[in-house]
Symmetry: C2
Subunit: 160 residues, 2 copies
DNA sequence: AATGCTATTGCAACATTGTAGCATTTACGT
DNA sequence: ACGTAAATGCTACAATGTTGCAATAGCATT
């Protein structure tokens, strides 16, 4: 989904993002800063496409490959988290101290992905002997509040 | 993962598969029958690649696109279920009456996907107002019993 | 068993998502 | 300001999936 944040919003208050990067021993670059800030103000996990559009909306030049690598690095550093959507594209969200592991809701009508902070999938899971659990990914599918309201009121925001 | 079922095993007892297809108003074709039977005897969800290899092992000619379309049809008819792996490839399993909704375990070391029949992710999930739940997909990540045994005993069966 | 209709197939071409290699640029410690 | 490794920005490629369309083949009917 194309998020149209107001121009300049991504550039404001970039102190935290820069520090985040520096604290992890990485170089503070245009793309990394912009990606972190876009993710920080995003209400939902963003795909590569989303991020590319967000950066373009802020007139931040970026390369497709650089975006991939910036996100790989963020995930590697534990700054961002990668979640698998039902389409085969990754989505990313910043790791916040308060919301450690939560489930995601994927609206099959409009394609939006929403974070469900209250649901912690990793708890209360028992595995067979010998299996080691690293993390659990819970994705709920259905219709979101906006799409589920009226039977015919599909308000597809134009994703894929 | 390449499953090497004994030759002919997929072709035997194909009565049920044919009936399944016919009961859903579809034409009984070589590829559909073979796919259903491969999925029925598979111990774990299969990717397109797996299925292609399984059909090839049984000397069943098949086209890549036909395979995709056969699986699409099976999912559409509710005969098979599509699950998203952590790589961006779909995996498929037959819908069995006894094991309705269960979780999956994805071994991050060897790539194997295992069905966890005992875990029913859709139960005990509370959504915000207005949200309609269709289905829940729970994927656990970690190391399976074989891979987790010895620290260095990675027995990768050859899957990416 | 032959016929006819149309659901499926099989092919080629394309779309999307993600990676690899490598020369060039840039962040940042000195 | 300088030097150097880290990142970038290309281009090319790989993997996965989709579309269009002519040819084939199920299956109901004769």
């Amino acid at each position: 989904m194309i998020m149209s944040f107001s121009k300049g919003s991504v550039r404001s208050g970039n102190r935290a993002a820069k520090d985040l990067i520096a604290d992890h021993g990485g170089r503070v670059t245009r793309t990394r800063v912009a990606v972190i800030e876009a993710l920080q103000i995003a209400p939902a996990p963003m795909s590569h496409e989303d991020l590319g559009a967000a950066l373009a909306a802020d007139d931040i030049p970026h390369d497709r490959v650089t975006l991939y690598r910036a996100l790989d690095w963020l995930v590697e550093q534990g700054i961002a988290r990668r979640i698998a959507g039902s389409d085969r594209a990754w989505r990313f969200e910043v790791v916040r101290p308060d919301s450690h592991r939560h489930a995601h809701f994927h609206c099959d009508r409009c394609g939006r992905v929403i974070c469900l902070e209250s649901l912690q999938p990793s708890s209360a899971v028992s595995l067979p002997d010998g299996y080691q659990l690293d993390r659990a990914e819970l994705v709920l599918h259905g219709a979101c509040a906006t799409c589920g309201d009226g039977p015919g009121s599909d308000n597809d925001p134009g994703q894929h």
